[in-house]
Amino acid sequence: MSATTQSPTASDSRTPSPSRAARLLGDRRLPVAVTALLFLLMYGGGLARYQYYGFAEPQVFLNLFIDNGYLLVAAVGVTFVILSGGIDLSVGSMIGFTTMFTAWLVERQGLPLLVVVPMALAVGALGGFLMGYVIHNFEIQPFIVTLAGLFLFRGLCLVISKESISISDSTVSSLAQAQASLGAGFLSIGAIVSLVVLAVAFYVLHYTRFGRRVYAIGGNEQSAMLMGLPQGGTKIAVYTVSGFCSALAGLLFTLYIQSGDPLHATGMELDAIAAVVIGGTLLTGGSGYVLGTLFGVLVLGLIKSIIQFEGTLSSWWTKIATGVLLCTFILVQRFMTTRKKA
């Protein structure tokens, strides 16, 4: 009946022009800016405290990319998954498996690296595809499916070998030592690859239909389906991307550490998820930027560097700092999303 609907406040609801402050708070880019700012502050703090110990060297900054390139690649893959509203716990195991797989093929089977690389990537993508397929077709929570993946791939590491396999292949070591000079410093191949992956991911997420579907599904899966979007295919593709990125991260890790070990990268999925969340991506999906993931990884890397420079702190402080940061960021996100709804 129309009686109750003659609303005296109706005109308010039709002029939805939020104040500038509210707009800024509601802006989805804000979390990324906050993380970037945090990074700058930490870096500035490092400069002030350790400038006579060589912290000001440009190479210290570039090392963040060299030492964390593999984590960045893995985190980019996880960004896709989390944006779509899912989760991938198999990342660390997939990285460990790739190091074993690669080391075994190169060292024990004597295959050339050029053949092994595409094989490793294909295995990773296939693993991701299968998990995505199960998640979509049997409507099982991604948490449990990728947890199965975590155990499966860690177990497969041990099937290949129970011991660590160090790589002495000349191609691998020359690749590992290759440096691209940037004047004041240099980047490793791994760092460059990770930046390329980041750029490609940014393009895919923002300039392709597939990328927008990832956001749509993360925003509201039911709606995405009713809007006629192929939500099943997108979901499977997202896990395939993550599997591929994990395998690529595994290759970079192999290059970085020059060995395969069944215990490599144990728990790295959690580092990747932490980087994504610190980078401002909402765990509920649909909101976040891959650029934020870069800053998330850099912040984690910088914590490690600072602790190394400090010298007296044990490396476990890295974990403690990560935990505190993660907790803070989740609370900030929570605060922001509830503000938005109110």
Binding site: A3, T208, Y215, G219
Partner: protein, 510 residues
Amino acid sequence: MAEPRPVLEMAGIVKEFPGVRALSDVDFRLFPGEIHALMGENGAGKSTLIKVLTGVYTLDGGTITLDGRSVRIASPLQAQQAGISTVYQEVNLCPNLSVAENIFIGREPTRLGRIQWKRLRREAAELVDRLGLDIDVGAPLSSYPLAVQQLVAIVRSLNTGGGEGPGTKVLILDEPTSSLDRDEVLQLFSLMRRLKDEGVAILFVSHFLDQIYEVCDRMTVLRNGTLVGEHMVSDLDQVGLVQLMLGKAMGQLDELHEHQLRSDAGDTLVQAEGLGRTGGIAPFDLEIKEGEVIGLAGLLGSGRTELARLLFGADQPDTGKVTIDGRPVSMSAPNDAIGAGVAFCSENRKSEGLVPDLTVRENIILALQASRGWTRPIPVAQRDELVAKYIKALDIRPANPEARVGQLSGGNQQKVLLARWLITQPKLLILDEPTRGIDIGAKAEIQKLVVSLSEEGMSVLYIAAELEEVLRLSHTIGVLRDRRLVAQIANGPEITPSRILETIASGEHQ
């Protein structure tokens, strides 16, 4: 209006579910440039017909002809491609994306696989502009109120053909107005009229008869899955329509109008003093007597539900106290309230009340079993007897305790929810919008039930959007405005909807 060829013709439509014939031999036609209402009680087959048309269900018999060609529609996507678009009651868009993206997602303009953002925004702005809407297409959808989101959904559905102009021939609006306020409804109607002028055939479903008479040209009436008739709106008045829908005269409704409310309320049952919650509702005092029906009137968002939730302990009060039957109750959790004899039927029967995958029997028995604790199951015979009794008392259809609740119509789901709480024999029953989204027959039954419960001595706190409904049932009317209980008015012959409205508008009772 000259009658051109219908754009859509459905003939002899049959749809069967296990044990139920949801549609039998229904004919339906839709002309270009008309707004056509599909009328019927809940369970009459409206939703089924729409779902057959949009490809959610496959039909078991009959033909669909679109633009003179016979078509088979096997999926929602196919329906869209054929030019049949649907906008549902719930807005099915992605709130995290911008308005422009929501309009275009899935068919963004691209060049070499790269989305052309500038073109996308420009085209979206043009489209929105052409339909006379004032929306910033770059803003996230979530920054707009529900009504605007609904309009965006319509804009999206019109553009499914892609390319130039609307490719949509048939637009189905399934209860789009149920959560809009009056101004927003008018905005929707002006958009509908504009589309009608452009030659789109609109199928409109709404439970608000006034709205049907305001905007529709023609209507088709269904009852129990069969076609009752097709009429021009101008040829059939509201009384006639209701009689067609119900298949019986208005007697049962009139009866309610004339019903004398029981005036001698009993002792105080619930006494709330200074009860309030920051951000929810300002502190209020409320006294509920035994057998009293208290109606809450106010706009959507004025704090009606918040008040009810405090009384049920679903939200924890910051201030004040509640005594029930003279005993103070802490209200720190729903269990406290349930223990004190309070029952609460939520307005979101789907998300907060029923378990759609359980059977009618399991849903009905849930609260009673919970109050007994899981270690003391209710004996099977007693359980079946209770369930059968309430199915009969509330006339739940189908009268099958094994039916899954998710498959029942809205009105019957509401009855199941009611039965669940009635079975626990509460002292105070809180009904939050029990009649929303259900048809007029079921509405009358639920209202009659409230009256008879009150006569038996049960207190009822009744929340409804329709003032007439509140006035008809309540002994006392609590008026809410801006999250504050501004007045408590004893009902009487001199209290009219406009008096209540004045109170809502001014915030004080003269």
